[in-house]
Amino acid sequence: MKKAVGVSARRVEGLGKVTGMIKFPADYYEPGMLYGKTLRTKIASGRIISIDTSKAEALPGVRKVVTAKDVPGHNGHGVLFPDAPVLADSRIRSVNDAIALVAADTEEIAAEALELIKVEYEELPGVFDPREAMQEDAPKVWEKGNILYHLPIRKGDVEKGFAEADVIVENTYSTQMVDHAFLQPEAALCTIDERGHLVLRVATQYVHWDRVEVARALGLSVNQVRIICTAVGGAFGGREDMTVQIHCALLTWLTKKPVKMIYDRHESFHAHSKRHPMYMEYKTGAKKDGRLTAVEARIIGDSGAYASWAPNILRKAAVHATGPYQVPNVKVDSYAVFTNNPFTGAMRGFGAAQPPIAYEAQMDLLAEKLGLHPFTIRWRNAFEEGSVTATGQVLETSVGLKESLLAAAKAFGWDVEQLV
């Protein structure tokens, strides 16, 4: 019986990685393959008046130019709502939008063909701040309105809680848009197998869902699409949405030839999701001894032009809004809001990474006002077994916060006896 737990094991695919043998999608080649490229919008909000692809189609070496009218199935994709266009047909909502695809004999010819596609735009007013987008008179990213999601959390009575507080701290915090910048830019190679089925090699976090998305956009059934996940050069949440998958499959399906697509770093930034910037308005009350009496928070997350995971992420932000602390009175309102910014999606922490900026800063400011050590105020409010969270969950087991706090305090060389 070989031991597994407690031994230092090598990664199963480590050998392939240290020898350079393992294959990422760009490392595959097929005889007779074409190179695919994507024409993306230069504007963030507007309409396409006309697209002229005739010059690109006439360029020697160009095999196919594709626009929205050539999408055989549903012209949309998205993990929760298929609201992001495969290829924009009239309305442009963000700089993510792809307008046309080219398949050509070489990468150079494909790039030249993109230059020859003439797109006429009408620019429309856009909205780039989610707080502005919530106003009645804001430009509408979507006709149904810009507020995609709202989650209210209520516990106890915050008015009563603030009335009982000896000190109240109010502040607004904001976090920025962040790109995952995984080291391997998106790439894919798509072929058609002997059964006439599509075989797409891509680095993805969501292989079975990719199959659904590709099949839906191409009007195929899922058994006609096979996704092979290659080695993945980092992802961190940024490979949960479509980028190259449908485009590469579409070019392969329409040319019946193998097609390879490789993004450079610039296009990678254009194509995939970002971390949600959040505006977090916080009001926190505490008694003289540091015990929290109430937290009121309004969290506004910028979803960009498409939903991706925004409702789930702003739900998670709301659930984590009071941190690992016992708060008797809670009022949290969390919103996901459409803007004409690049779309935001999953990124390490999935909405739980932003609120700590706000609630921990509030704890430090309360401690300062009350003349308490930052450790003490946290110790006096920390979750322990039996605590009830803001959403009513009873923490029955595995609550190691106080143990961790003690270990950290000791590591800092603090006199714990003085602080608890």
Binding site: S8, G14, V18, T19, G20, M21, F24, L183, Q184, D264
Partner: protein, 159 residues
């Protein structure tokens, strides 16, 4: 564009072929020779994923034309060690958990090799400087530095 003759010693073998004058070294390695262990992460010399060793020096192969490496000795990850006979750095990277997604690994290994070939006993700071042109986005620098340091005869405890 007229093609020109290119020859060099790549991973110990003489290579001779006709290439376009404007071909980057990375494209020669990947698209012409299918040595795909050399990775392109940025195309502008920021990330180091395309690092190869030319006449003993680590070079970003995305920043030079293939012709600039004509008649030189080029080492890519494919020439560093084999499955049967790993280079000690490759073994150390595996044992110290210095490999995560693996996209930076070939460039990281070659940058480390170029350092140790010149200076078998670098300090931790010198190791960090030597790999400062190689980005890892999986937050793996500590273990990479540990793996390299383990070959300098010092006691490293993160295995």
């Amino acid at each position: 564009m007229d093609k020109v003759r290119f020859s060099a010693e790549i991973n110990g073998e003489q290579v001779d072929l006709l290439i376009p004058q404007n071909l980057r070294l990375i494209d020669l390695l990947r698209d012409y020779l299918h040595l795909t262990g050399t990775k392109e992460g940025c195309g502008e010399g920021e990330c180091g994923a395309c690092t190869v060793i030319i006449d003993g020096e680590p070079v970003n192969s995305c920043l030079i034309f293939a012709l600039q490496a004509r008649d030189k000795k080029i080492l890519t990850i494919e020439g560093m060690g084999s499955l049967e006979q790993l280079h000690p750095l490759q073994t150390a990277f595996l044992d110290y958990g210095a490999v995560q997604c693996g996209f930076c690994t070939p460039g990281m290994l070659l940058a480390a090799k170029a350092l140790l070939d010149k200076n078998p006993n670098p300090s931790r700071e010198e190791i960090k400087t030597a790999i400062s042109g190689n980005l890892c986005r999986c937050t793996g620098y500590s273990k990479i530095v540990d793996a390299i340091e383990s070959l300098t005869g010092k006691e490293v405890n993160s295995k």
